[in-house]
Point group: C2
Chain length 329, copies 2
C-alpha cells in the first residue's frame, strides 16, 4: 500500500456519504494542503482534539473496527457538546500497520462514517502514516453563537448540579465485554454504551441556547474526576447525594457476580454524559428528561472547595478523583 491509496480509501468512504450541505460548509476539504472553512457570522469556532490509541484506549483483538471508528469521533465530539456547540467538521490523523489497510480499515471507516453522519460532521482533511500500532488523533471543529458557549468555570455556590443519562454503564459494559455475557438480555445496552457512545449534542445546545447552564463538562474520565475539573475551574466545591446518583442498571447475570454500583457511578469513565450546573431559581425549567435522555439532579455547588459525598441522609465523605488517567494505568 502507498499513502495515496490509503488517502483514496478514506476519501472514497466519505464521498459515498454524500452529505447534502457539503460544498456549503467546506469550500475545500481533503486533497489540498489544508481545508478551508467559512465560519458562520456571529459565531465562535470551537476546537478540540483527542487521542484514540491502540493498547491505551482500545484493544485490536477485543474492540470491533467499526466501534473504534465510531468511538474515536464520538468522544472527541463530546467536547463540542460540553460547550453547547454544533459540530461542523473534523480532521483524521490515522497511523496504521500495513496489515490493517484492508478489512480493518474498511470496518473502521464504516463506523467513522456512521458517526460522522449521526453527528453532522464532514471530513475536512487529515494525515496518514505507518506505525506498528493503530494510532488515531481526531480534531473536531464546532461552532457556537458568540457568548453562548458554556464553560467549566461558570458555576456559582448554590447552583444545582445535574447529570444526563446514567453513570458507570460504559465502564460496566467494558468489564462485561470479554465475557460470555453478551447473550444475556439487557447486556447489549451496556456494550453499546461502551462501544458506541452517543455524545449529548442536542442537550448541550438546548442548555446553552436557553442559558440554563452556568457551567458544563462532559463526563469522560468519570464523575469524581470531571466534577473536580468543573469545581476547580469555578473555584468552588460540590456536595453530591449518593442516593440521587443515576446508578447503572445491571441485568441479572445469573452468576452471583456483584458490582459496586456506587463506585462505578463515581469513577467509571467513558460515559460521555453531560454534567452541568443551573442556578437555583431556574431549576424548575430543567425537565426530567430531554429527548429520551434522563436528567438527574445530583447535588449542589458549595462555597467551600472540595467535593463531598452525602450518604444515608447526612454522613459525608470526601470524593477523591479516581477516574481515568492514562498515566495511572
Amino acid at each position: 500500500m502507498q499513502e495515496d491509496e490509503l488517502v483514496e480509501s478514506i476519501e472514497k468512504a466519505f464521498r459515498r456519504m454524500g452529505s447534502p450541505g457539503r460544498s456549503k460548509k467546506l469550500r475545500i476539504g481533503m486533497g489540498d494542503d489544508a481545508a478551508l472553512l467559512t465560519p458562520l457570522p456571529e459565531h465562535e469556532t470551537i476546537l478540540t482534539c483527542d487521542w484514540f490509541l491502540e493498547g491505551m484506549h482500545f484493544l485490536r483483538e477485543r474492540h470491533p473496527a467499526e466501534a473504534v471508528g465510531w468511538k474515536c469521533l464520538a468522544r472527541a465530539t463530546s467536547d463540542i457538546a460540553a460547550m453547547g456547540g454544533a459540530p461542523r467538521c473534523f480532521l483524521l490523523s490515522l497511523a496504521l500497520p500495513p496489515s490493517c489497510a484492508g478489512r480493518w480499515l474498511d470496518g473502521f471507516l464504516s463506523g467513522l462514517r456512521r458517526a460522522a453522519r449521526r453527528l453532522g460532521l464532514e471530513l475536512a482533511g487529515g494525515d496518514t502514516s505507518r506505525h506498528r500500532q493503530i494510532l488515531v488523533s481526531i480534531t473536531v471543529i464546532g461552532e457556537v453563537r458568540r457568548g453562548e458557549a458554556v464553560l467549566r468555570s461558570g458555576a456559582r455556590p448554590g447552583d444545582l448540579i445535574w447529570v444526563s443519562g446514567r453513570l458507570g454503564e460504559a465502564q460496566l459494559g467494558m468489564e462485561l465485554l470479554p465475557g460470555r455475557w453478551t447473550q444475556v438480555p439487557g447486556i447489549r445496552r451496556l456494550l453499546r454504551k461502551h462501544l458506541y457512545p452517543e455524545p449529548r449534542i442536542e442537550l448541550g445546545q438546548w442548555l446553552s441556547k436557553r442559558r440554563l447552564a452556568t457551567a458544563m463538562i462532559d463526563v469522560s474520565d468519570g464523575l469524581s474526576t470531571d466534577l473536580g475539573h468543573l469545581c476547580e475551574a469555578s473555584d468552588a466545591g460540590a456536595r453530591v447525594y449518593a442516593d440521587k446518583l443515576p446508578l447503572p442498571r445491571v441485568p441479572d447475570l445469573g452468576s452471583g457476580r456483584r458490582f459496586d454500583l456506587l463506585a462505578l457511578a463515581l469513577d467509571g469513565g467513558d460515559d460521555y454524559e453531560l454534567l452541568f450546573t443551573v442556578p437555583w431559581r431556574l431549576a424548575h425549567l430543567v425537565p426530567r428528561e430531554y429527548r429520551g435522555v434522563s436528567l438527574t439532579k445530583i447535588g449542589e455547588i458549595t462555597r467551600a472547595t472540595g467535593m463531598l459525598l452525602v450518604e444515608d441522609g447526612n454522613r459525608t465523605r470526601p470524593i477523591v478523583p479516581r477516574g481515568w488517567d492514562p498515566f495511572r494505568r
Copy 2:
C-alpha cells in the same frame, strides 16, 4: 506523573511565552473542554494536521528534543503557508513514555515554544496520553481573507513554475547528521535545514495578497511528489529544466564523498519550500528573492499531463514521484 501534571507543564511553558495578543485571539485556550476562537471577519479558517512520530519522522537518540518540538510545529504550519494564510493557533496531541516526562519534555516544549513565537501561533489546547513511543499530532489553524487562498488546483498550461530556497538540502542535512561532519564549516546550515525548517509564511501571504500565484503547494515530500500533486489537482502536466533547479550547496567534506545533487533536489523531502505557479504575463512581478529567500523559475505547466525533466538543452525524461511516502519505507 499524572496527566494533570503533564498538562500543567505544557501550560506553564506557554504561559511564560506571554504573547501580547493572547486574550484577543483566543477567548478560551487550554483548561476547558475545548478552545474558543473568534474568527476574523471576511476570512476563511484554514485547518491542517500532521503526524510527527518517533521511528517514522524522527529518532529519539538522534534528534534533539528541541528540534522535535520545533519541527513538528513548523512542518504543520507549512501547509498554512502553502495556502497563503496567516497562522493563528494550534492544538498539541502528545503521547509519551513516562521516562520522557522530565528532560526530554522540557527540551521539546522549549523548541515548540520557540517555533510558536516565530510563527505567531498560540497554543489553544490538546490532549495527552501515555505510549511506549513518543507520538505527536499537531493541528494548526490559520486564516486567510475570503477568496485569497491559493489552492493546488489553479495552475493553467503556460503558467511558469517557481520554487523558493534550495531543494534537497534538508535531505542532505539528514544524511550528514549522524556523522562526524558537524564540525565542517557550512554543514551547520544543512543541519539547521533538517532540524529547524522555516516555513515560508511571509512569502505565501505575499503571493496570495498580490494574487500572483495561481497554484501553490509546499515541498514537504520532495519536488517529484509534490509537483505531481499540484499537476494532478490542476489536471495538467509540467516541464522542469534540470539546469534551473536550485541544487543543494555542498561544503567540501574532504572525504571524497559525493552526492547526487539532482536526485536530492528532485526527491529529497522535508524542505518546506513553496512551489508555485504564476501566469506568464505576471512573471516579471516575481522578484529574484523575497526577504532573503531566493525564488527560482524552474519550468512551466503543460497541457499534456505527466512531468518531464529537460536535461542538456533538450533531452527529456519522465519525472517519477520518488519523494517521501511513509508506506514505502
